[in-house]
Symmetry: C2
Subunit: 340 residues, 2 copies
């Protein structure tokens, strides 16, 4: 009889989707206030808005604004958290994971922090400027005026996001929910950032947001990893802390370090970094930045997750199967360094 019972148990376990096993039924989420708004943006005149008769070619459009969606819990902690996605993605990055588990956007609210999720300028719900496509199409501008817009293919993204050394090989112990990769690929969108001014308009919008929020932790990822540093260099006002997750770049060690001494900073990397020719040099240069910032009087920490006993994390660690374990660790860091 015991063997029969054991078999039945296994069958039931297999029939349950992974998400149901890992996400216990939650108590209702109680929200003091939620909503969305835009920050930044400016008006431009264009003669090539449209090639269709139903829409006039000439007129004014607003560009470079940043979409922000927020939720404020009852009795919110002093400092809010602002979530800034990376390349080829949108604010969806932080929402429900590809395999249906709770995203950090909701988890942080449940843990008492007001949470602001943005779409970078020219991405997602923040408008791109498509006028030059029509300028070229109608012969008013040469080919090289076309925007520089790229999409990351699944195969290239596989390596960049460190699901494995190359498509479709998988690193041993990988925590990304690859069984739900089809849902993840749907999150990816074309990236217009190479067509935008430098620094990215998202940076000044983040500064405006931080000042408005009067104390927010800027949590960035990958391509946007550098944005909170650029925001602090612009104005440290309102920035309670910086968490740069797997940044595409850290400030140069020779740069003016003073802005980075004004708030606690965490640079966070996942696993398999030493096996990635793309990421290993970035980790190295971030270590140099951390050393320089601390020498200048900063409170800057660099953590590589395997070094604190958390293994198997991809570049998309906010969606990995242990994403809430990492969120808990991160909240602990915020409590120790910022909330106090």
């Amino acid at each position: 009889m015991p063997s029969v019972i054991k078999i039945a148990f296994i069958v039931v376990a297999l029939a349950w989707p992974a998400a149901a096993q890992q996400t216990p039924k939650e108590t209702p989420l109680v929200i003091e206030k939620q909503g969305s708004f835009f920050v930044g943006g400016h008006d431009i005149h264009s003669e090539t808005l449209s090639t269709l008769p139903a829409y006039a070619p000439t007129g004014t459009v607003t560009v470079d604004q940043m979409y922000v969606r927020f939720q404020i819990p009852v009795n919110a902690a002093r400092h809010s958290i602002t979530l800034i996605h990376g390349c080829c993605l949108t604010g969806k990055t932080w929402e429900t994971t590809p395999d249906g588990r709770m995203g950090w956007d909701e988890y942080f609210v449940r843990k008492g922090h007001s949470t602001y999720v943005i779409d970078q300028a020219a991405r997602g719900r923040s408008a791109a400027n498509t006028s030059t496509i029509n300028s070229v199409k109608t012969g008013k501008a040469p080919l090289d005026q076309l925007p520089t817009v790229f999409a990351a293919g699944h195969e290239a993204a596989w390596t960049i996001f460190r699901f494995g050394p190359e498509y479709p090989k998988v690193f041993a112990g990988m925590q990304f929910p690859l069984e739900s990769q089809a849902e993840f690929w749907k999150q990816m969108v074309p990236d217009w950032s190479a067509s935008l001014p430098t620094p990215n308009p998202t940076v000044s919008a983040l500064s405006e947001l931080a000042i408005r929020l009067d104390g927010t932790v800027l949590v960035s990822h990958s391509q946007s990893g550098i944005y909170p540093f650029q925001t602090a260099a612009l104005n440290t006002k309102g920035i309670a802390g910086i968490v740069s997750i797997e940044p595409g770049g850290c400030p140069a060690a020779g740069a003016d370090m003073r802005p980075y001494t004004k708030m606690p900073i965490l640079v966070l990397f996942g696993d398999y970094v030493d096996q990635s020719p793309r990421w290993a040099p970035r980790l190295k240069s971030c270590k140099e930045f951390v050393q320089a910032a601390n020498k200048a009087g900063g409170n800057v920490e660099l953590v590589v997750l395997p070094d604190i006993g958390i293994h198997g994390n991809s570049h998309m660690l906010m969606q990995d199967k242990n994403s809430l374990e990492i969120a808990d660790w991160l909240l602990g860091w915020i409590d120790r360094q910022i909330e106090k």
Copy 2:
């Protein structure tokens, strides 16, 4: 003394922003479950994903998927509501209004309905396909292969959205919060729909969503006004009702009416329609559709808001100052016709 008191009262009233007067402090919002996911989409191969050395030109991307964000209240009503935005906009349409009042997305949840807000295929968080821009840029395809993508300028949109007869004139009694128009213009995004297959991939995605939700009211607007009808023509399964707000078009009166006899249907128009050369013919043709559908045995209603005593509404009636009054009326219609 009374006159002094009266003056003080007027000063206080003027100092309050309009939103504060109209939106009383709400009780906390209690959510059983919230999250986001994608519906639809398929993989394509491209040789022109990128012109940048950091991203490979060749690979697979997923396109035509539809982003969906949802909130389920505790003890939800039997039927959910799916909110489908119109031209040159995203799901933001239904969120916080330009002047900071509660959007229908939250209001319907507070009134007990699970609410699903989508971004149309190739809009907002649903990826557009930008490969042909790079094909043309690299000389691999002729100019006419560039996508047809347009933006509505403020001036043209002013007339289309019936803020007034022409920019910047305002219709008498206008309910749109024009003092916050700068925030509204930031909501507008380029529209790729003319580059998409017909019917728009959003239609099959809506069908998949309706079947999954097993009874949802498809609430569409403007450009997407026709989508629920196209969805019903594809498959009526899961569609509990249709609310088409200011549709750019209704089904032709000569079309097969059978799909439109399977669920209650409401076609809703705002004010000033007879003063708009763009909208007056659309209202007329929708009336012909309603007559034909009812003759075929349908339960189809067409309401022009001034006819029921609600005045001053623009094309963007879900953002007008009386938006929650209209929401209440709409919920009444849903209760009578669908929830019962």
